[in-house]
Structures are given as C-alpha cells and as structure tokens.
C-alpha cells in the first residue's frame, strides 16, 4: 500500500471548507424479497433462497413487494419528505456477475420520496439540519466471494463464488443534498447523521439497520473548496463505510488527503475509494473518467407506483415517536440534565437502559448500572456497551435483588462481576459465591457478641449513650461477615444487646 500524504486536520480546515454528500443503503427487514416471494433470512446456505425471478431466468417477471413500498413511504415521511403521487421503477443497466439480470431494478428520476431533512444532534447538544435529496427503492445484488487473492478483492483471485440469496432483497437508498457549513465538525456531522438515521430506521421497525451485518451501508462523498468559494471542488466517493466510527474517520481522512493534494498544487481526480478499517485510510478504487452511462429507462415489466393520498396520511398518522423527540421525552421523565442524557447517548446506553426498565427495573437503577459499572467494564475491555456480556434482564434481576434487600450495593457489584465472568445468571452467581445478605439473628448474634467482647471500650461508650460509636461495632461485624451482613439488622442487634434504645 502506498503511503498517502496528509495535511494536519487543523491546517486542512484553516484553508478549506468541506462539502459532503452521504448515500446510505438500508436493507429492509421485509419477510420476502422486493420482486419475488423468496425469503430474506440471513445466513442460509448459498443460493438456497432463490427462484426464477431473483435468478433472472429467461421469462421471469418481477412483482413489487407492497411492504417494501410501505416501508419506503414510512422512511420518506419520517425524513420529512414529499411522497410521489406517481412514480416508476427504472432499469439501471450494467454488467456484473452478481447481478442476475445485468440490470438493477431501481428508481431514477422519479423517486418515491424527495425533498426532506433530518435534524441531528451533535455531542455538545447542537442541532444540525441535514437536507435530504431523495429516498428511493431498489433491489440488492448477489454476493461475490473472490477466492485465491490476498485481500479478498477480485485482483489476484483465481475464481469467484456467487451467492444470489441477497439478490433482490429490498433496499432503500437515502441521499442527502450537499452538506455545507459543517466546517471542522463535518466528520462529526457525518457520524451523527448516520447514527440518527439508524435510530430512525429502527424506530420505524422497517429494518434492524445493523451496520456490522451490512444491513446499512454508507458511501461518503467529500470535496473541499477554499474558504469563501461557492463552487464545489471535485469529490471522491468512499464506498461501503460500514460503522459509525468509520464514517467519521473516512470523512476526516479524506479532508486531510484532499487538502494535502490541493495545497501541493495537485488536482483531485473523481474516483471511488476503498476504506480500510485497520488504519482508517482510503485507497483509490475505480477512476471515473466520464460519468458512467447506466442507460436508465422506465422498467416496462412493472406498473407505476401511485400511493393513494389517504394511505400516505394513514401511514403518517401511524408513525412512531421519532428518536430525537423520544429522547427528549425520556430526559424529562427521568429528570436528568442535558449533559447526563448526552453521556447516556454517547455511551450507546439508551436502548439498554430502556430494555432494563422494560424488564422491571426502575429508571434510576437501570441508568446507574449501565452508566457506572457496565460502562466502566466496556471502557476497560474496549467493547461497545451493547457487547458487554450481560443482558438487560440480568441487570434488572440484580436491581430487583437490591430492592428486595437480598443484596446490598457492594454484593450487587460482585454479582455483576460474576455474570460478566460467565458464571451464569445473577441468581446462580449469588448461590455459587454465597453472596446473600445475612440477616438471620443466630448467625449475626455470634458475630455481634464477638465484636462487643473484643471492643469493650467502644461498647461502654455506646452503653453511655454515644450512639454514633455503634458504627465501629457494625463495621467490625461487616468485616467479620465479609460484607454480607444486613447492616441495618446488625445495628439493631448491637443496640439491643447493649440495652440501649435506638
């Protein structure tokens, strides 16, 4: 790999103003494919979920998946778009072995949704409005696996394997208008936009939008222009950037790379670029000497889509509470400050906390565990919070044990530690480690007697009415019972045995 010259981020931004365009593909979670009845289940045997239509066999014809159209309209509405009264599918013609018909059934100049916006909140709470150009329906391609090459890319491969299970899975492509004015925060805006879009797609229930599974993929188009200039510079298109962190890194890298080229008197070539997770760099893909000619024309095998207005309004009325508004409501419900809510979001803890509440925990304790003990664990192990090996149900159980007085805080932390260590459910950890609070009098009584016997001076003070001195005896009992004693009961016993009224 050749070393790419980069300008420092600060220097780049001192001279240039970045303009971005983000194209996000979302695989819809429909049960069947966009134009046939094949299953969309992931992980099946290669080519086991195919039929004449999604294999493009001679004579086969497409039929539009109504749920696919409905999902597209919901996404359009949630993005504040206008919904087309009449639109058509179009054929995008190009040859590639993983595309069965050698044209992709897509939409061209008549997208189902257009002219919208999405407000995204940055880490410091600032709201940035991203304008949406369009959202359109299309089908996914099959999957090529190149075998024999060093990098899994086609270059150097001896042969390729084709799996058409993915061919025909419904996709919605969401394209922003040029994002201007983000300045040095451009990479952050890109990340926040994709994050907000993902939340929105999930809230709509139209896709799980799991980026790591390829259910949501982002292309980052970026160009620089000198400050004060209207005209956009030449852009690069970084393809398939598949995590939030990568979106931010790709934008940042391209800003630095473009700036280095431009300040050294070079010109940016319009090209696609590959993003590399390992070091956050991009490398040149295919150079676009001239705009690719896809010879779009209206798909004659499908009839136009003309969603009735009443239906669109019905869908609008049925939209769930959108993520940003929901977050605002939760913050008010929980009575926490902006910065506290922001750290919940930054930690990726919101859904986990809500799931824990849904399992019966109260909001305060759910938040306490996820933002405290568990966030710390995630930090230490470098994992995403959601990947920490404990479920919301298990956290809720710990919280219930504390509320019932069966665990105190210290013991609860040990239980969580056990769950994270793979020792089983909270109840199993309690049993195995013997972590129950001891409140039964015969067991505690002996420990209290011992404490009184070996701290006679303190015991006298207490008898003399100095109740504050009781703390020392309680501490001694707790120590003797390795923290498992019910502190409240110990205090009662100490006072009782010394004949003092509490």
């Amino acid at each position: 790999m050749t070393v790419t010259d980069l300008l420092s981020y600060e220097d780049a931004l001192a001279s240039f103003d970045p303009v971005m365009g983000l194209e996000v593909h979302v695989e819809l979670g429909t049960r069947t494919k966009m134009f046939c009845g094949c299953s969309t289940e992931l992980g099946a045997e290669p080519n086991s979920q195919t039929c004449p239509t999604c294999l493009g066999l001679p004579g086969s014809l497409p039929v539009v998946n109504a749920i696919g159209v409905e999902s597209a309209i919901k996404i359009g509405l949630a993005l504040n778009c206008e919904i087309a009264e009449w639109c058509r599918f179009a054929r995008k013609n190009y040859f590639y072995p993983d595309m069965p018909k050698n044209f992709q059934t897509s939409q061209y100049d008549e997208p189902i949704a257009f002219n919208g916006y999405l407000d995204v909140q940055l880490e410091d709470g600032e709201v940035f409005r991203v304008q949406i150009e369009r959202a359109h329906m299309e089908e996914d391609t099959g999957k090529s696996t190149h075998v024999g090459g060093a990098t899994g890319r086609i270059h150097g491969a001896s042969h390729s394997l084709l799996d058409y299970n993915r061919a025909g899975i419904p996709l919605i492509e969401i394209v922003t208008k040029p994002i201007e004015g983000a300045g040095e925060r451009a990479p952050e805006v890109a990340r926040a936009y994709v994050a907000e879009l993902r939340e929105l797609i999930k809230a709509l229930g139209v896709s799980e939008a799991r980026m790591e599974m390829g259910q949501m993929r982002c292309d980052v188009n970026l160009s620089l222009r000198p400050h004060g200039r209207e005209k956009f510079g030449t852009r690069s298109e970084t393809k398939n950037v598949n995590s939030l962190r990568s979106v931010e890194r790709a934008a940042r890298f391209e800003i630095q790379r473009h700036a280095a080229v431009l300040t050294s008197g070079g010109t940016i070539v319009q090209e696609t670029r590959h993003f590399h997770e390992e070091d956050g760099s991009t490398t040149s893909g295919r150079i676009k000497e001239e705009a690719e000619d896809y010879r779009y024309f209206p798909e004659p095998d499908l009839v136009p889509v003309a969603p009735p207005r009443e239906w669109v309004e019905e869908l609008r009325a049925g939209l769930p509470e959108l993520p940003r508004l929901r977050r605002k409501r939760l913050q008010e419900d929980w009575g926490i400050a902006d910065h506290e809510m922001q750290s919940v979001l930054n930690a990726g803890a919101l859904d986990l906390i809500l799931a824990t509440i849904a399992e019966g925990a109260d909001a305060a304790s759910a938040r306490k565990w996820w933002m405290g003990e568990l966030a710390r664990h995630a930090n230490e192990t470098g994992a995403e919070l959601a990947a920490v090996p404990i479920t919301p149900a298990q956290v809720a159980r710990v919280s219930a044990l504390v509320a019932a007085g069966d665990l105190n805080d210290k013991l609860a932390r040990q239980v969580i530690e056990g769950v994270l260590a793979g020792e089983g459910d909270p109840d199993q950890v309690v049993d195995k480690r013997g972590l129950k609070v001891v409140s039964d009098d015969s067991a505690l009584g002996a420990a209290v007697d011992d404490a009184i016997a070996s701290n006679a001076a303190i015991a006298d003070k207490i008898r003399g009415g100095n109740l504050a001195a009781a703390g020392a005896l309680i501490g001694a009992v707790m120590k003797a019972t390795r923290g498992q004693a019910d502190a409240k009961r110990v205090r009662e016993l100490v006072l009782e045995k010394l004949g003092v009224q509490g």
Binding site: P52, L55, G56, L57, P58, G59, S60, L61, P62, V63, V64, R91, N93, F95, P97, P100, K101, N102, F103, S160, L162, A291, D293, R295, Y296, F297, P300, D301, L302, V303
Partner: protein, 497 residues
Amino acid sequence: MTDIIRLTAAQTAEKIASGELTAVEVTEAHLARIEAVDEKVHAFLHIDREGALAQARAVDAKRAAGEPLGPLAGVPLAMKDIFTTEGVPTTVGSKILEGWLPPYDSTVTKRLKAADVVILGKTNMDEFAMGSSTENSAYGPTGNPWDLTRIPGGSGGGSAAALASYQAPLALGTDTGGSIRQPAAVTGTVGVKPTYGGVSRYGMVAFSSSLDQGGPCARTVLDAALLHEAIGGHDPLDSTSIDAPVPPVVEAARSGDVRGMRIGVVKELGGDGYQAGVVQRFDESVEVLRELGAEVVEISCPSFVYALAAYYLIAPSECSSNLARFDAMRYGMRVGDDGTRSAEDVTALTREAGFGAEVKRRIILGTYALSSGYYDAYYGSAQKVRTLITRDFEKAFESVDVLVSPTTPTTAFPLGERVDDPLAMYLVDLCTIPVNLAGNAAMSLPCGLAPEDGLPVGLQIIAPALKDDRLYRVGAAVEAAFVKKWGHPLLEEAPQL
C-alpha cells in the same frame, strides 16, 4: 388417420369427449404426421413425444373415470419455443440457450396443462422473436407449406407452418410487432394478438416487454377463441397482466353477426407499395363485410406513418436490456472458460458466439438509443410517437367498432430474398406494428389467394383494448362468408406435402 389431423380443435375435443376418438389416437396421428412431413417443413425444434403421450393418456383416464373434460381436453398444440416448459428444452431459436432445461413452466404452459391440452413440442422461430421470416432462427429456417421455398412469416413461422401443414390444430405464438399475425397471413391461418396484458407474459422469454404479447394461433376463428379463453386472464405473477375477466371471445366466435357494426378502413395502411393481389383480396373482404350488414367508413390515422421508426427504437432499447442476462454465468452457453479468462471476457465471447447477427444489430441499436445524450432524441421521441398512435386509435374507435387493413403488404416472399436487407424485412410489419405500440387487440385471418402468385392473403381486424371479442365476432362472420363462397376452407387449396 388423415381425417384426424384435418379436424378442427373444436371437433377434435368433441370427438374425444364423446368417445369417438381417444386422446392417445389423436396425439399419435399428429406425431405420425410430424414424422411424415416435418423433415420438409421444419416447423418443430423439439418434439416431446413422451410428454405428449403421457398427457393424452391422462385425458383418456380422466374420461374413463367419468371426470368432466375441458373444451380443449386432448387437443394437440404446437408451442412456440419462447414459452418455458419445465424440463423440456426452450431455446428461443438461439444458440445461447441450446440445451437449457427450464426449471419452471410459463403461466401459459401451466394453464394449457391444466386444460388438458396435449403439448406436442416446441416450434421454430426467429431468434428471440426478432424477425419476420423465421430465417433468423439459429436452427435453420422453416418452409411455408404453401411453397416450401418461401418464408412462413416470423417470428412465429414454426407455429403457423405447423398449423398449415396439419401437424397440429392449435399453436401458440407471441406478437411484438406482428409475429403472430404476419405468419398467419402468409400461411392462410388465423392468429390473434390479444390486448396487451390479456395473456400472462410470465415464463415467456422477453424480447420487448412493453410490446410482447402471447396469443392463440389456429386454423379457424372458433379454435383461436377456445385457445384464447384457455390461456387468457389475470396472472398475479405478471404485474402488467390485466385484472379483468377474459372478454367473451368464444361466444363472439359462435355468433359471427356483424349487422349494424361500424367498420373503419385505415387509410394509411394500404394503397401504393402494396401488392396488387393483396389490395384486391382486402377490398373484396371489405365488400363482404358490407354485404353482411356492417357499415364501412374510411378512417385516417395520420401518426401511423411514424410507427415503424418508433418501434425500431423502443423494441431494440428494451431488448438490449432484456438480453443482458445472457452472460454465461447461470445458464445456457459458456464460451472460453478455460480457467485463465476473466468473467467479463467469458461473457463477451459467449455473447459473440451465442447471438446471431439480427439480435446483435438490435442490441447495438438499443444500447445506442438509450445512451445518455441520445435518450431524449431516440427513446423519448419514440415514446411520444407511441402516445400519438394510441390517440389515433382512441379517436378512430370513437366512431367505429373495429378497424381493418391488410395484415401484410405482400404475400410470402422467397426464402433468402430479404436476409441481407434488414430495412426491407422490417417493412413486412408495417400494418401490424401500430397495434403493438398502442396495446390493443388484432387478428389476422385468411381472405383468399393473391391472383398473381396463388399465395394466401391476410385480413387484419383491430379492436380497442379489452374488446378482443369484437375480433372474433367480425372474424367469424368473414370466415363463414368466405368458406361459403369458396365452398371449403382456404387451406384445402394448399398443396399436399
């Protein structure tokens, strides 16, 4: 045996239903006829002897068990090799699909099987239905039973020749610009292009999706109606299929009453450049209609003169995209896969070797017409012409019930005459193409022999979309009048093979 093959489909079904004939007898008679004459005619690309006999036996068993039989049960049919048939070769007349065994039946195939029709085999055609003479078949041309040195029409020349040579009483065709009607005209048979969307396209290998329409071919108007009814109707697998009942075609074919109907003669389809004998027989047909009590008027459709030009932009554009899937990856021919070449090279070599000259010409034409910078001038303009032609029809049908014209400007020309002159070949479809562009329905039926060459002439009847029944009403009346006049059906004048 000779008698069996000369029966109409309606007669055959009746005799099978009554027990006078068995379906196996009927099938064997046709298989024997194919054996006897198809070496000369070359109507078939593939004979499914076992499949046909199995279907025939099933029909006989059904009858023996007292189960009700459909109106075409046991009747043999020749199927154009463009409809997929599960496990039975489907080549579309192309080398690129040689040896392909489709894993699925077309909707039309399914419906025929459900109607207990016996599918004898697959018939020859111009490669991917592109042509008007069947000479573009990768498997050699078909001869016209009237004169084996002449073209049987195309693209469905095999189906029409099979009917005219009594190898089958029913056949299936597809009509993108005249591929059912023109072969019917030059072979003295009946062919119908139903309203676009009237017969499912699912499993019909696409040439030009917005123009392609499957339809019935037969020797009589009633037989065509029976077949139309069996294959027509809504299909959820074809989005462009019309969700409406099949028009009452059989009823119309049985009535054949044209009294009081208004019939328009299309001014732009006829006259200069048309063969004299064709014009003469057409004029006589119009006279017959008048005598039968119809009112005949002349109608002008001024946009029809642009139809051919528009067609040769739209059809190639769609075909350039539809035929992209033949890339050697999943089915059909694969050339040059020696382990060293890239997929792209193998695709290119396969398409180079697998497609014939006419198919390549149209792919190149269409690719060009859709290119950015040319799209508006070519594809865009052609779509506008299409709208104008549709309006011409709409306006005409405000004042008449059907339109009539010759089906083709000439009778069957000699094989080889136009193979090197694509434009002359394209002109063959001058009268039929406007119907495909507008999506309405049309029929061709025999109206006599041209005096100068003794070859069949076709009369074209055109009806508004969804009014296919009018074709059969008018067709049946003309047919009855001519048979009465001639003393026998026209085909009986064809030479013995």
